[in-house]
Symmetry: C3
Subunit: 500 residues, 3 copies
């Protein structure tokens, strides 16, 4: 009822005022001539993209207008937009023809120098702070951190390698680029390279296009033809680039749904997720800054980890960050144990004391020199807790933290038990590990060990962190840690006995 009254009053107010065209209340921003050229064909050629883009803020507001907002409300982080771009809305040409020389995938397309893959460097013209933050995030390094780590490559092959049956058992052949691109690197990002050109028949006659290897891909650490890392469109989905999309948990669910990182599944059945699912239709996902309690009444992934949050009086609760671990003291993702966040987003530099490219020893101790120290952990804890404290008392938050940090230790302990069993298996010859020149991840017992830390311990810790606690009991958590240990132990006993 109140809402209808408000709509009515608003209509009356509008009647008194003159309603200018365009959404931004200023002189109508213009679509650039270059973009008009694109639209001339693409309205028919790719109607979905064009219609989607028309709904975007990019299609309605020029960077010059965007700059006029006050600091907290501003959605561009540069202080100055280069002249040819400032006055037009952000259309096809503004992004796809920007700095053509820098983009090896640039091609001559109906008189324009167009590149296919828009990269963070393009976005940084208007959003340099966000691009800079993202460069310091492990996410933009996700391709390299996986590809340039020999141990992780062993794991990849244990997951996607191709088995065939030989007379004496199975033979594992490495998976090719396509299988890897269609699995691990779908999220981590592929290396996108121009490999040639192709001529296609189109409504405009025969046209030549570049052929890209590693394409399509929307991974967060995609290595672009210009050498840049990451894809803003992974979360700010084309071509509406809606902040509403990025702020809802469905975006994160694309890669964080489990069982290795079941953040989305856990959120869904948490109290926060419950409130989101029920009340999101009453929330304002477009507002910048994002006002806690008014625009939203429970955090989404973005609220805790990324967004600029203020209270109703305009006080900042959390600064915007696209370095996703900026508010995270712990890295819950076990490799093979949970540990303090790495110092550098480039995790390929990490070596534990045993010389392995892992942030912890196989026996649990953190590779401390490569990880943030307690002071930095405290700083990040404080940032994250400020978000919690918007709605929860200190007692509540401290109590939650105590449960969570205890659970981190418990899940690490249950990983240690599994690791001791696998070490014993390697030592006694019941399985072939690195010391025997073999992958530590591909045999039956080794695979149970992988599930212990990658699935069950991770799930247990995440369920605790996000208070979707029930998930960490039977779904993929504590029950499975315990059951898996018993089965590993029985397996090992049996194989050591029969070996004698």
């Amino acid at each position: 009822m109140l809402k209808t009254v408000r709509i009515f009053l608003f209509i009356l107010a509008l009647m008194a005022a003159t309603v200018p065209a365009g959404g931004a209340g200023a002189a109508e921003p213009r679509v650039s001539e270059a973009t008009e050229n694109c639209l001339a064909c693409h309205t028919a050629a790719t109607p979905g993209i064009v219609a989607d883009w028309k709904k975007s803020r990019h299609a309605q507001v020029s960077p010059a207008e965007a700059l006029k907002k006050d600091r907290l409300s501003r959605r561009v982080s540069t202080e100055k937009i280069p002249e040819p771009l400032a006055g037009s809305v952000v259309g096809c040409a503004e992004c796809h023809t920007l700095t053509p020389a820098a983009h090896p995938d640039t091609f001559d397309h109906e008189g324009e120098q167009v590149h296919v893959v828009v990269t963070p460097g393009n976005c940084a013209v208007c959003h340099p702070e966000e691009a800079g933050q993202y460069e310091r995030s492990k996410m933009s390094w996700a391709q390299k951190n996986l590809a340039d780590n020999q141990l992780y490559n062993d794991l990849i092959q244990a997951v996607v390698g191709i088995y065939s049956v030989k007379a004496d058992g199975l033979s594992l052949q490495p998976a090719g680029a396509k299988d890897q691109a269609d699995s691990c690197y779908a999220c981590h990002g592929t290396v996108v390279k121009v490999t040639g050109t192709v001529v296609r028949e189109t409504d405009q006659g025969d046209l030549e296009f570049p052929v890209l290897d590693g394409w399509p891909n929307q991974g967060v650490g995609r290595v672009n033809p210009d050498g840049s890392k990451g894809s803003c469109a992974s979360c700010h989905t084309r071509h509406q680039f809606s902040i509403k999309t990025a702020r809802q948990p469905y975006t994160c669910s694309q890669c964080h749904k489990g069982p290795d990182v079941p953040a989305y599944k856990i959120y869904s059945v948490s109290k926060h997720g419950n409130i989101f699912s029920t009340h999101k239709d009453e929330w304002d996902f477009e507002a910048a800054p994002w006002t806690v309690g008014r625009d939203f009444t429970a955090p989404t992934c973005a609220a805790c980890h990324v967004s600029l949050i203020v209270d109703e009086e305009g006080e900042t609760v959390a600064e915007r960050t696209h370095q996703m671990n900026d508010r995270l003291p712990w890295r819950l993702f076990g490799l093979v144990y949970a540990h303090p966040q790495p110092k550098s987003p480039d995790t390929t530099v990490i070596r534990n004391k045993a010389g392995l490219p892992l942030p912890t020893e196989l026996t649990g101790q953190p590779a401390a020199e490569f990880l943030i120290d307690e002071k930095e952990q405290a700083r990040r804890t404080e940032r994250l807790q400020k978000v919690c404290l918007s709605c929860h008392s200190h007692g509540w938050v401290e109590g939650h933290w105590a449960l969570w940090e205890n659970t981190i230790q418990t899940a690490n302990a249950q990983t240690l038990a599994a690791t001791q069993l696998i070490l014993k298996a390697w030592d006694r010859g019941a399985a072939q590990g690195p010391a025997q020149g073999d992958s530590p991840f591909n045999e039956a017992l080794e695979r149970k060990w992988v599930e212990q830390w990658l699935f069950y311990a991770n799930s247990t810790r995440l369920a605790s962190a996000m208070d979707g606690t029930d998930y960490g009991v039977f779904a993929e958590g504590r029950w499975h840690m315990a059951k898996n240990l018993v089965e590993m132990s029985d397996w090992l006993k049996f194989h050591l006995k029969t070996k004698k």
Copy 2:
């Protein structure tokens, strides 16, 4: 803001016009006398159905009005509605008393000849094209294709058969009709038959009703008392019959949620699903035709597989079809390998070279004479890709296709490895297969083999097809294909060794 302005302008327009009663802007369509009779009691007897129906288009528009729309916007596919039906809205009597003699479940009910089960033949009076398409769909044959295939019956009993413990091990007794109806045939459809009558006390005194066996059931291939196959209400849910329901993925999720066909789960965590979940409140799910980019900005299941899609200029992107595989070159559902779609919706006619009622050999070769050829695959690929190309470039679509078709081969190869192990087990006597006169699906190793193709290979292929790629890695995909193979191989080695 713009939305409110639009509402306001719309209100002004309405003030100038005369608002006629009824939603369709024409003379108010009338509820037939027969339906008024139904409503007289049923408004109290089954208030939920009646209130639900009142919200339906059926309750607001008469077929005669529906016929006036232009071809693309028309929701009825007949050219002529029989006279007594044309002028009234589509109410209880219009469907439940239609052609009573054809329906063995017709009974005398307060002076009307009413049948319980409304069948596709009834719907076809106004929607004959859709009914015809659906008849050519495997879905309408889902009951028969399962029930009349001996091998599939073996699988049913391996799933729902009742085990009891005997002195020397387990004994498996076939599950009865109720257990089958409450499992496999819930989706595939039961055979609904009149078995007698029952007298019930009602507010209107004692009344006699037919007793139906196999009822209730909403399976897509339900065999109705009139002998017809399928249920339109499986997707066009009673009694609102809303196109909005059919177009959202939740409808498909009822039977396609996994682990055998996890289409819904995969869609949910795909980019398309992300956009749907976030933006569906801004979409128009009622519009016919459905305009890509304007009415919706990402496909749902219906967009790719069923709906009539146009672009903003009214050009048809895809014709409506209720033959669900009309845009599908491949059948990803492995039996036991993925293969080209069958030619006939009646798959009971299929025999592979080995004489088994399977569309592939156990060693992977397609039973080609029963499957569509490459030309037809190309036609269906083109139809499906036209939907993709609304929003994606040719390079994008081709790249996606290359990944997907590679993944089909990979998952088939991992199915072949598992099949070679089970063939060896049958050959060496470590398990009892068809050659030994036993079900190929019920022993421990056989069940691991079933999971290889039915769960893991299917999940891997679907995850690739719908770009919910992460799902195909750890959730129920490649990791499990690999782990399962290692465990099968170890099991077999051990049992062959102990056998000696």
Copy 3:
């Protein structure tokens, strides 16, 4: 279109009337002075809570106004509100300073006697019937029923106990309070106790707060500092306490999502869940009473189990109850078999004939004297079926019931088979059970037995009950019951053979 017309007519009507301030159409309810004091600091200290509360009915309506509604629409169940509370809206002070002497967690806070944990006794001032019903619900006993049952404690330790590796195998140490609070008792509820005080720096200077053990916790059976049981906020989430939250299935999903009680997952992929997910934006989740067909067109968890439902003519379909099993003849949750609901919400009194604190014998017979009899089952069946009959015919409902009750028996039978195997294992020394002084839940075979009834039989029964039938086949149901039995039987055969 109709909606906009309705909005417009409504606006016209509003123009004619005088719109009073406040949402309730009466003199503006006032915020009490005590609550104003709270808000003075907490608007800045915990902005999210305050903003959330402002959106609540509590913040807009005083109890005196709430009492004026007719019986069916009334949201308070008392006949008389104590004077100091009646005239103000329900703010911070109204709940957190109520009966301070009864609350051991009361502390002096800026001149007010504030307690942290608002308990059902506080809510009962306005909502005594609901509090009384909830007291008779097993849910409010969930902490005690778990903690005071030795057998269930064995299960807890099999789930959350900490394993370490010793020379001769694994050693299981009991989990501490934190691990238990962060797993089983997260849903069942912790015991919350004051253990001391702490001084914190705040914007108002140093302030002293109580320290609570077992806090935070939102479990349904939480034992509060005042000795009361349960938390209304488990479902009526703070601080909006919205009936919309409680009526949507997301609330129940927090604890009922599987694999032990996958009610939410099953609902999601049922026809009812499909309709909810698609059409909930058209429903009225705030209306009291809740009118079937008009306010909602498919049941949510609350509709079947809790809510006051009426039809459009105001006839009551179901009375409101917060005794959640008031409409439930069967307890599907197997312990270890499904059985009639217990008579008393205190299930610690139950002993089966074998002396175990279980509602069934290990061989399946119900511990009848502690369970409701057939007459009471019939009463509850009638209450539940009245909800079904709002939208379904008697034939439909009876057919569904017949399938469901058959499936209860089938799942019980497959639990019996597994239990016979485990009894044999205990008898023959292949595992150590209660007779050997050991937990029946912690060894490898025992854990498979647990999964048989706790995961697979429960899932099968729930999937049948809620007509999310497909879920009960491959997801976590019949396939897994069968496969698990075969694996258990093979394991046992092998271990009995090698033992010889």
